[in-house]
């Protein structure tokens, strides 16, 4: 493994390190206890050491909680290994990470496919929400045997997301409207629609005055792999996520349509000259991307939350925006996206654990994500910081330019 800046794994790891370092500084400068300790820096001989100790303790505790909350607690692991008991507790962090990552992987793949075609689908959030709504309605308003109901619910979710994707796709294809503004605006529209739906009488959770929708029937749920009793939430949804990754790989690398997508992303004019219809590609990309995002939304509903509410997929990190950072980190390739989603999933779950333990708001985790992604997107910068030998560095070119 050469130590050049061209090696993407090295760059990613170093970017991660940098991200956490910056995150540490943010913690330091915004935590009252640490700041107080530094204020008394010159008070006594022991004061500086004390200040640094507090810093390391605090930051270290924060990051340690992040790790144990998202991956594994080594002590607990050892305990379970030796006594054979308590596996449920030990495996909970990883289970949580996988649960969180399941819809994230799917949306990130959706976004990654659009990026490879040179189109910016910033509407992953809205598309996932609309898919979640569509599927949740099917899942909760009618009752059918599971073998029909579950697939039907999932398909409804895909269609809902595809419908949301159709708007920017058609507008871009026929009017050239820039998809960034349209998708961002559409997100806001769909958020409002979500509130409307969950507050409306037919759909609101009976007995609730809040913005919570009906729960889907058990015939439309994806059960947890290890059963309800274990408390491990990871569901069969991870197989759907894995399936999506495989599909995306096949689609982009082996299918003819995927080839058309990649050609269009690399050079729209050459694509047109070689016979590809740009309009068809644009519409298809948004239908597929939107559909996958919708799938993510409905998977989230049927496997984890079982209903949509006013903060569905928004309250956390706005899954659509996290998906963008994941796609960038994974360099728009399906396998890379899988790893990046697991990583950022861990970050998200860990962030919440950190908040529970130390009170540091989990938004910090998102900030770290953004910083990591910025570093990853500029390998040259990372190289300069770490003085790696220069390979032929290439900036991450994603195709579109300006409003054209």
């Amino acid at each position: 493994m050469s130590l050049t800046s061209q090696n993407p794994v090295i760059v990613t790891i170093l970017a991660l390190v940098l991200g956490f370092v910056v995150g540490a500084f943010i913690i330091i400068f915004t935590t009252a206890t640490i700041l107080d300790a530094f204020r008394g820096f010159f008070n006594s001989w022991g004061a500086p050491g004390h200040a640094f100790k507090i810093t390391f303790d605090y930051v270290g505790a924060a990051y340690r909680d992040m790790f144990t909350g998202s991956v594994i607690d080594p002590a607990g692991f050892w305990h379970s290994l030796t006594t054979g008991k308590g596996w449920d507790n030990t495996l909970t962090p990883i289970s949580e990470t996988l649960t969180y990552a399941t819809p994230l992987v799917i949306v990130s793949i959706a976004v990654g496919i659009s990026f490879q075609t040179g189109l910016f689908n910033i509407g992953g959030n809205g598309q996932a929400v609309l898919g979640g709504i569509a599927g949740a309605v099917i899942g909760s308003m009618i009752k059918l045997p599971m073998i029909i109901h579950l697939p039907l619910t999932l398909i409804a979710g895909i269609l809902g997301g595809a419908l949301a994707g159709a708007l920017p796709g058609v507008l871009k294809a026929y009017t050239g409207a820039h998809e960034v503004i349209v998708t961002i605006m559409e997100n806001y529209v769909i958020y409002a629609f979500l509130l409307y739906v969950v507050l409306s009488t037919p759909y609101q959770q009976p007995g609730q005055a809040n913005d919570i929708g009906r729960s889907v029937h058990s015939s439309a749920q994806l059960p947890p792999i290890f059963g309800e009793a274990s408390g491990l939430r990871v569901s069969y949804g991870i197989f759907i996520a894995a399936g999506v990754v495989v599909f995306a790989w096949w689609f982009l690398e082996r299918s003819s349509l995927g080839f058309d997508f990649r050609v269009t992303g690399a050079s729209p004019s050459a694509a047109k000259a070689s016979g590809i219809s740009p309009r068809a590609v644009v519409i298809l990309v948004f239908l597929i991307s939107g559909g996958l995002a919708g799938l993510a939304g409905i998977v989230q509903v049927v496997s984890t939350t079982h209903y949509v509410d006013g903060t569905f997929l928004i309250g956390d990190a706005g899954i659509g925006f996290t998906a963008i950072t994941v796609a960038l980190l994974g360099r728009n390739k399906p396998v890379g996206i899988l790893w990046a989603a697991l990583l950022f999933g861990a970050l998200g779950v860990g962030g919440r654990a950190m908040q529970a333990a130390t009170g540091i708001p989990f938004d910090l985790a998102t900030v770290i994500q953004s910083i990591v992604v910025l570093f990853v997107a500029t390998p040259v910068l990372v190289k300069e910081i770490f003085r790696l030998r220069a390979g032929k560095t290439q900036a991450l070119q994603l195709g579109t330019q300006g409003w054209g």
């Binding site: 299918s255 990649r262 050079s267």
Partner: protein, 504 residues
């Protein structure tokens, strides 16, 4: 000014673009730098103009060694450059373009447009370069735009004028006018460095000729040297200046354009009632200065631009306003004008580019899934047959030289079992070896009994390839003649005179 370049060397990683180049330009001299595409002329000029810094060597102006920090300083030192691709802002007026960077100002940093315009009119009169200072540059003809570029350099008090391939975009008459301007500038004491790869022009205008090959100076010559002497110095071997063609035996009409009208984005008719026929076994060469509608005509043929009225028929099939997909499948081969933008996908591999037009056709794909093995095999075959220099077919096509990139396109189109070939500026920017190669391939296609339309602004190429020559001006065909027609007459047609008006 007296300019000396001493031992200029410039390297780009493994490539030495300029290797110990020394040239002297005397005041009032028209010094021509002759070299084929890729010889290193542009790099040298960028060094001279301050856009690049030489690795070794020095620039000496009137005996003083100068180092340019940037091109602004080169301009201040009296070096003016007329670029091959104009450095003019299209939406600005002539005045704004000419004063850019050297604007006269009033209070509050406001631009003094009155003074600027007066200055322009003065310089314009002094050197006999008529322009309208308030015109918006993008509305001007290419010849006039070039005048603005020259004006720009002169208004910065340039003493040395570098002209980089200035005649690519001009009619023969405009070239004459440009040469007159150059002579008068030289007579008034300015030095001129005139870069080109065109042998005829060099012999017509230069006082001294320096020949560059592969980054080195290989000799100087007088304008009295013969074309073949200059050509072999330029290329390093005997050059075949014409292409061998079988006897001209045209068959049926295989391609017909009737009364074609195509509008550009602003609603103007850039193709204004064009009619052409091409016979089997024939190359119809379409001559004309760039910007007279040829680009849009080819785009319309290939299905990339909407045809407002008129028809195009290929082998009896109406392909007017069909999709590019259908047109390609119907048997059209297309070598586009801008190979890197329309002909290739630079980031994809050579193999993928070689199937770019037909990725779904068996055996390259079936049931929506690609057969990568077949694609690679096909690519290996073509690389061998067409002598494409590449380390591997998996390499991105961007790693190939310009000539080899064009070979990829030519290989792809000609191996694809097409009926009719449309080639637009097929040898632009290529070295002589590649030019010979591309011409040979087109002629092979012709000799097999197929028809071709070759659009070119290089008269040499038009004469070499064309069995018949059509000339396009301002969206119309000003005439269709045979290759025995003189260059002057064709030049007149390129400037708008129609065939009927020519005597004899």
């Amino acid at each position: 000014m007296r300019l000396e370049l001493r031992g200029i060397t410039k390297r780009f990683s493994s490539l030495t673009a300029n290797d110990n180049i020394s040239i002297t330009v005397e005041p009032g001299q028209i010094h021509s730098l002759l070299g084929e595409n890729g010889a290193g002329k542009s790099t040298l000029m960028n060094v001279l103009f301050g856009l690049l810094h030489p690795d070794e060597g020095e620039i000496v102006i009137d005996g003083e060694v100068i180092k340019f920090a940037d091109s602004g300083e080169a301009v201040r030192r009296g070096i003016g450059m007329v670029h091959q691709h104009f450095m003019l802002v299209p939406v600005f007026s002539v005045t704004e373009n000419v004063v850019l960077g050297f604007e006269p100002t009033k209070s509050l940093n406001r631009i003094d447009y009155k003074k600027a315009t007066d200055d322009i009119r003065r310089v314009s009169k002094e050197f006999n370069l008529e322009v309208d200072p308030d015109a918006i540059v993008e509305n001007l003809s290419v010849g006039i735009q070039q005048r603005v570029e020259i004006l720009k350099a002169l208004s910065h008090d340039a003493e040395l004028l570098i002209l980089d391939e200035p005649t690519a975009v001009l009619t023969p008459q405009e070239i004459e006018a440009l040469m007159a301007i150059m002579r008068s500038l030289a007579a008034s004491g300015k030095s001129i460095l005139f870069i080109t790869h065109k042998l005829k022009e060099v012999r017509a205008i230069a006082d001294v000729i320096t020949i560059i090959r592969h980054g080195k100076v290989v000799g100087t010559a007088e304008p009295t040297a013969s074309e073949s002497e200059l050509a072999s110095l330029m290329v390093g071997r005997e050059v075949e200046l014409s292409v061998q063609k079988d006897a001209y035996a045209p068959g049926q009409i295989v391609f017909e354009i009737r009364d074609l009208v195509v509008r550009d984005d602003r609603g103007l008719a850039v193709v204004d009632g064009v009619s052409l026929d091409v016979y089997a076994g024939e190359i119809l060469a379409l001559a004309g200065v760039q910007g007279n509608g040829q680009t849009e005509l080819v785009e319309a043929i290939a299905g990339m631009r909407r045809i407002e009225s008129g028809t195009i028929t290929m082998n009896g099939r109406d392909i007017t306003n069909e999709t590019p997909r259908n047109i390609l499948d119907a048997g059209l081969g297309h070598i586009p004008e801008d190979r890197q933008r329309d002909g290739l996908v630079m980031t994809l591999s050579v193999a993928d580019n070689l199937v770019l037009n037909t990725p779904r056709r068996a055996p390259f794909a079936s049931h929506g899934t690609r057969n990568l093995g077949a694609v690679a095999q096909h690519a290996e075959q073509l690389v061998k047959d067409f002598d494409i220099r590449t380390t591997s077919v998996k390499e991105p096509v961007s790693s190939l030289s310009g000539g080899n990139q064009q070979k990829v396109i030519v290989a792809r189109e000609l191996s694809r079992n097409i009926d009719f070939l449309v080639a637009s500026q097929p040898t632009r920017g290529l070295d002589v070896g590649s030019i010979e190669y591309v011409h040979r391939q087109i002629v092979i296609h012709r000799n097999r009994g197929n028809g071709s339309l070759v659009v070119s602004s290089e008269l040499d190429e038009v004469y070499a390839l064309g069995d018949r020559i059509a000339v396009m001006y301002a969206g119309k065909i000003s005439g269709i003649v045979d290759p025995s027609t003189s260059r002057e007459d064709i030049g007149l047609m390129m400037a708008g005179t129609t065939v009927g008006a020519l005597s004899d």
